[in-house]
Amino acid sequence: MPRVFIPPLLKKITGPVDQVDIDGTTVRQIIENLELKFPGVKDRLCDGDSLKPGLAVAIDSHITNKGLFAKVPADSEVHFVTAIGGG
């Protein structure tokens, strides 16, 4: 089962957990299932049908461009991180 790492500022909703195992094979499913466990999480992560602007998902430490549609392999790590640009 994928393991989701909880960003510090999301702990106001999830409580003091650093990581949680959540079922799902796409980022969308992961967030839906997180919402069932921690109501309010989805609003923090999504803006309509997309991830919030400026937010990115790293799956097994690789940021994906596919957002909510990204596939999440079993036993992978999922991080919600800040999107990075460059100069």
Binding site: P7, L10, P53, L55, A58, S61
Partner: protein, 763 residues
């Protein structure tokens, strides 16, 4: 993915062919934005705010409009209402309302130089005269220029719509406007426990000045709004597709109605991603019915375009007696300028990334101040952060009695190390860069005189992947026309062409690269984030693989065999019965007997591989003036695979020089009213070749497992270590720990005199 090809087999990669655009560049024939000249073209001038903070009570353009030769005047009122939405421009997000108000001020000016109105006329002299006649009534407001002052409850507030957004995944809080636009927080382990385990702890505060990217070519744009509603824009930009998106949104036309033609670019370093002039030139063209050209002068560039933020940073780090870091904590506040959007997030995510730190906490704040809206600058946010962390590490080493290279090696992150912001590293080369410095002739050579010191520092930058497209057309003579959408800032035409050539088994000279406009090239994100050689190179690799497949199919048809039994190797198509066709034979056949061969490749891979650098510098400090002379400089960098080593070395040297300028001299000087006092290159001191020794690059090649040829971005990380390395060297030379950038002669002299006074008992 695993690196699929060993370097030993490369025939093109790792060589140093002459760049394809070289002749045009050195003979002056390359066309830049300033060279655009169209029939009937008008010239435009901008009216800019003399105040750092003011409400605009009224704008009267009537006197300007009646000047003979004036064809159009525009203000924010001529722009469609930008919606208050945040859009993704590929390499970052932007609030359209803020972007539009930055392009032409809406009701308020937030920094001196903020654009208010523009005039298009028969020539630039008429345009300037008319712009000066525009009557703007201001209600001048108090300005706030310091990031910490701007965070106070009683500070003048710049934007009525800004509330504090907590990221990642936090909430937007507060019921009243604030200058604190964003708060980022990252945490790993138990910081209190980590500090309790430390035997030495160092905590210091730092301030860094606002600095500019310092590109030589000013911003420019020429636009023609055709009668059919289609707009063509000729401009100097790092991202033509990003300009297309921004212009379309701000002038209110469909994306496909805007065609952006990227001209050659005289430097960008992150500062030529946002639009400034392009929408204004388009609006002037719409109003006048003629093409309009708009160019900034140097003062405009300094006063109105993206500097990189000044900052306040506090860092606390602890290590045990074995020299292992046990905990690290940082607080960073970055100036956003007039509108939110400083690179505070990457600053937070890079500050401790070079090290394996089990317990860490980082808080970062994006704060509006009355300065130009900041923009990216080479590894945005990371240089400020490294100045703080890397000098604190030097102090830890001193307290522990450890060699700073040994300490870095002992704590270096490696494959599997978890960063404080969460993700773990894949195969990276931090350790190797430290070892390269340790093994360098430079590090083994003793300093030779008084007032000399040596410092080292390391830096990390993420690099980006994003999206790129390439098409490659095989000509009958075996040359391949390569069309890409990445504007070429640092020799990327050559680096992309070489990856295509390597994959096809032809020479780099047989590939003819062209940077296309937005109607001809496939979608490509900006040239930024050190991504082009990685991502557009990968797209070129894919295009070459597509060509291979087409050649295999054509040969299989000809030989009446199954394509699965045909292979492509080193420029040859090989059949099952010892049949062989060379690439050139196949190319010749393709225009005669088979269908044209056009390869297509795209890249959206996001495994760019982190970039690490460790630099060593020797300095001599003049104890009577505070002037720092750089005696020797060596920069070791994990470059993955150096596609064209000369351009990799050039990036390292250029980045190091910009970092040295940031460290020693560069600074926006403001008076109390918010007016910049040094808005020219005479007074804004960037290093020249007379100031510096040869920057000696060491290419450490740890191939990126996330690229077919092991490419890592190389352009940004070399700017990160220099200020901290210089500060550490200055400490060795003088015994003074500098905690403010730049470490300019007056600032260092002040500290030297203070130290002398203290040593003399305060006399």
């Amino acid at each position: 993915m695993a690196t699929s090809e060993s370097k030993k087999k490369y025939k093109v990669i790792g060589t140093r062919p002459i760049r394809h655009d070289g002749v045009d560049k050195v003979t002056g024939r390359a066309k830049y934005g300033g060279d655009v000249n169209l029939t009937g073209m008008l010239h435009a001038a901008m009216l800019r705010s003399p105040h750092a903070h003011a409400n605009i009570k009224s704008i009267d353009t009537s006197k300007a409009e009646i000047i003979p030769g004036v064809h159009a005047v525009v203000t924010h009122a001529d722009m469609p209402d930008a919606t208050d939405k945040v859009v993704n421009l590929g390499e970052g997000t932007v609030n359209l309302k803020h972007l539009g108000s930055n392009v032409l001020a809406d009701k308020k000016v937030l920094y001196r130089g903020h654009a208010i109105a523009a005039v298009a006329a028969d020539n630039i002299h008429i345009a300037r005269e008319a712009a000066a006649l525009i009557d703007v009534k201001y209600e001048v407001l108090p300005a706030v220029l310091d990031v910490l002052e701007a965070m106070q409850d009683d500070a003048p507030v710049l934007n009525a719509d800004v509330r504090t957004e907590e990221l990642p995944a936090g909430e937007t809080s507060g019921d009243k406007p604030t200058n604190i636009a964003k708060h980022f927080q990252f945490e790993l382990g138990d910081v209190e426990k980590g500090f309790a385990e430390a035997s030495v702890i160092v905590e210091r505060e730092f301030k860094t000045a606002t600095v500019h990217q310092g590109y030589i070519e000013p911003h420019n744009a020429t636009a023609h709004w055709n009668a059919d509603g289609h707009i063509t824009v000729w401009t100097s930009t790092q991202g033509s597709f990003s300009v297309r998106h921004q212009v379309a949104e701000l002038v209110g036309v469909p994306l496909g109605f805007v065609k952006v033609i990227p001209m050659e670019i005289g430097g960008g370093f992150g500062g030529k991603i946002s639009v400034y002039l392009q929408p204004v030139a388009a609006l002037l063209s719409k109003k006048s019915g003629k093409p309009v050209k708009l160019i900034m002068d140097r003062t405009d560039v300094f006063e109105a375009t993206g500097p990189t933020p000044g900052s306040y940073i506090k860092v606390k780090m602890g290590a045990n007696s074995d020299g292992l870091i046990t905990a690290a904590e940082a607080y960073l506040s970055y100036e956003a300028g007039g509108y939110p959007g400083s690179p505070i997030a990457p600053g937070c995510m890079c500050i401790f990334a070079c090290y394996n730190i089990p317990n860490g906490k980082i808080d970062g704040y994006d704060v509006c101040v009355n300065k130009p809206r900041t923009n990216a600058y080479r590894a945005p946010g990371a240089t400020n952060a490294a100045m703080a962390a890397e000098t604190v590490i030097d102090e830890l080493c001193e307290k522990l009695g450890m060699d700073p290279a040994e300490f870095r090696l002992k704590n270096a992150c490696k494959e599997g190390t978890r960063r404080i912001d969460g993700p773990v590293f894949s195969r990276i080369g931090m350790e190797e860069t430290v070892q390269a410095i340790q093994n360098s002739e430079h590090y083994k050579t003793e300093l030779t005189g008084p007032n000399q010191g040596r410092g080292i520092a390391s830096g990390f930058w993420f690099n980006c992947g994003l999206r790129s497209s390439v098409t490659a057309t095989v000509n009958g003579d075996g040359c391949v026309a390569l069309l890409e959408g990445s504007t070429d800032i640092g020799g990327s035409r050559a680096a992309i062409a070489m990856q295509l050539a390597e994959t096809l088994g032809i020479t780099a000279e047989e590939v003819i690269p062209t940077v296309g406009d937005t109607d001809s090239a496939g979608y490509t994100d900006v040239t930024g984030g050190s991504r082009v050689t990685y991502a557009t190179g990968w797209a070129a690799y894919e295009a070459a693989k597509d060509i291979q497949r087409q050649m295999i199919a054509a040969a299989a048809d000809q030989w009446e065999v199954d394509p699965a039994d045909v292979s492509y190797d080193d420029g040859k198509i090989i059949g099952p019965n010892d049949q062989v066709l060379t690439f050139h034979e196949m190319a010749a056949q393709s225009v005669k007997t088979s269908q044209p061969i056009i390869g297509r490749g795209v890249s959206e891979h996001e495994e760019p591989g982190g970039a690490f650098a460790t630099h060593a510098v020797d300095v001599e400090v003049d104890p009577d003036t505070g002037k720092v002379t750089v005696l020797r400089y060596t920069a070791a960098q994990d470059v993955g695979t150096a596609i064209h080593p000369s351009y990799v070395e050039g990036q390292i040297q250029g980045g190091a020089v910009q970092g040295i300028g940031w460290g020693l001299n560069e600074e926006y000087f403001y008076d109390d009213s918010g007016k910049m006092s040094n808005s020219s290159f005479l007074d804004y001191r960037i290093p020249t070749c007379l100031d510096l020794p040869m920057i000696d690059p060491i290419l450490v090649e740890v191939p990126n497992p996330g690229h077919p040829y092991g490419v890592r971005g190389v352009g940004e990380v070399p700017i990160i270590p220099p200020p901290a390395a210089l500060a550490n060297a200055i400490y060795q030379a003088t015994g003074i720990r500098m905690q403010q950038l730049p470490m300019s002669p007056p600032r260092l002299m002040h500290e030297i005199l203070k130290k002398r006074a203290a040593e003399n008992g305060g006399s």
